[in-house]
Assembly symmetry: C2
């Protein structure tokens, strides 16, 4: 029987700028009495990656534009936060009814350019890591240096979706993990070739991990164990090119 | 440590119309030597639910309209299949570049109204179950009748997404499972109240299950065990009301 274990790692300290995450991830494994297998994947929440990389902006340093002030006033938002969101964006996809969907410089399409005030220091906001694939690669190398085993690493964030309520966790950065399982060309039970069968397994790994993370449960790192998701995928592979997208 | 197990159940026979699924799900558990816990969730792929409910259409019975013929010819598609897709839809959300995104009568927004020819009998197409929440409730009751334990049931299907490549598994029908974990009103590490923190855990459970389904394609039922996702959610709770949606 194919079987997967999703194990939340706890006890990490509050992360601040400059703190190296990989040793803390390894320490959390040690506390749990677990040694890494090469097929293990460690899912790390964007929040602690952003904090460790110092992606925290003091809102007092932000001077909102007149248009940011006007829109914010209409929806009772902090105009400095809106200004920061717009600075992180290369495209506004929707700006309607108090909801702001943007395309970030990474090519991610999400609410508020991924900028978040929850769990940021008071008066501050967290932005996304500038290069989540590079962040994932650094964490992978750091864990490998400490343990001799290079696990897959997924950096995840929770995004909303059109058409469906609620957020789900997705993969924004990858190292040592494939983005997709591509079943095109395989045959169904009647021998017909499958066509639209490319599964975004890195996103599904992130979603699986979120089930044990939960927002306030203090589980910023999750071990996914039991199947081999290894590969050379990138978070950016998961991004549809704007020219192929029907919704922006 | 919070921990979850995702276990694929194998060995189910090929499903045909009128076959009762619940006894086959129980038999698969028995073969695996597992007894159900009340917090277990069984994720069942839409494909076998549709087959057991006879949601298979003989394409020879479909007379395509002139417009279905024209569009199909332009993109080298089967016009009868397009006609069926349009009949299953209450709204065309996008019809562009050979891609057809519709809203089904359930309110699901997905490619081709969820109509699929893979794993259907030759010359046939599978449609979505007419009421996936009712299907889930029947499976739950059937399993409970046989085992004395009523697990959560999620009926899942793989959908594409705007902005991101690849399909992910989502929940289209639920019984005994909550749709969301709502963290609004809880406080972050700095004591601030969280706002946009409603997680679509039923979709994440479906995605987690897909990771063990994807491997062989012969895993139509997955057991998710270890955390309590119990509740009275409905697949339709996960559907954003058209009036609140910025993308249709």
């Amino acid at each position: 029987m194919p079987r997967l274990e999703i194990i939340g790692l706890t006890g990490l300290p509050e992360i601040t700028a400059g703190v190296a995450l990989a040793p803390l991830m390894v320490a959390a494994l040690d506390r749990a009495g677990m040694s890494l297998a090469p097929t293990d994947v460690m899912v790390v929440t964007q929040k602690i990656v952003s904090k460790s990389e110092g992606c925290e902006v003091d809102l007092a340093t932000i001077e909102p534009s007149a248009s940011a002030r006007a829109w914010s006033a209409a929806y009772d938002k902090d105009p400095r936060l809106l200004e920061l969101v717009l600075r992180e964006a290369i495209r506004v996809v929707r700006m309607d009814r108090g909801v702001l969907i943007t395309e970030t410089r990474h090519g991610l399409v999400c609410a508020n350019s991924g900028v978040d005030v929850s769990n940021a220091q008071p008066g501050h906001a967290l932005t996304l890591p500038p290069d989540p694939d590079a962040s994932a690669a650094r964490l992978r190398a750091g864990v490998a240096a400490a343990t001799g085993v290079a696990p897959g690493v997924v950096i995840s964030d929770t995004f909303g979706r059109p058409w469906r309520e609620g957020l789900v966790n997705v993969a924004i950065g990858l190292a040592g993990v494939r983005a997709f399982d591509d079943h095109r060309g395989e045959r169904d039970v009647f021998g017909r070739v499958l066509h639209a069968s490319v599964l975004a397994i890195a996103d599904e790994v992130a979603s699986a991990a979120e089930l044990v993370m939960s927002k306030t449960r203090q589980v910023p790192v999750v071990l996914v164990r039991g199947l081999d998701f290894g590969g050379a995928g990138r978070g950016r592979d998961l991004l549809r090119e704007p020219g192929r997208d029907l919704f922006r």
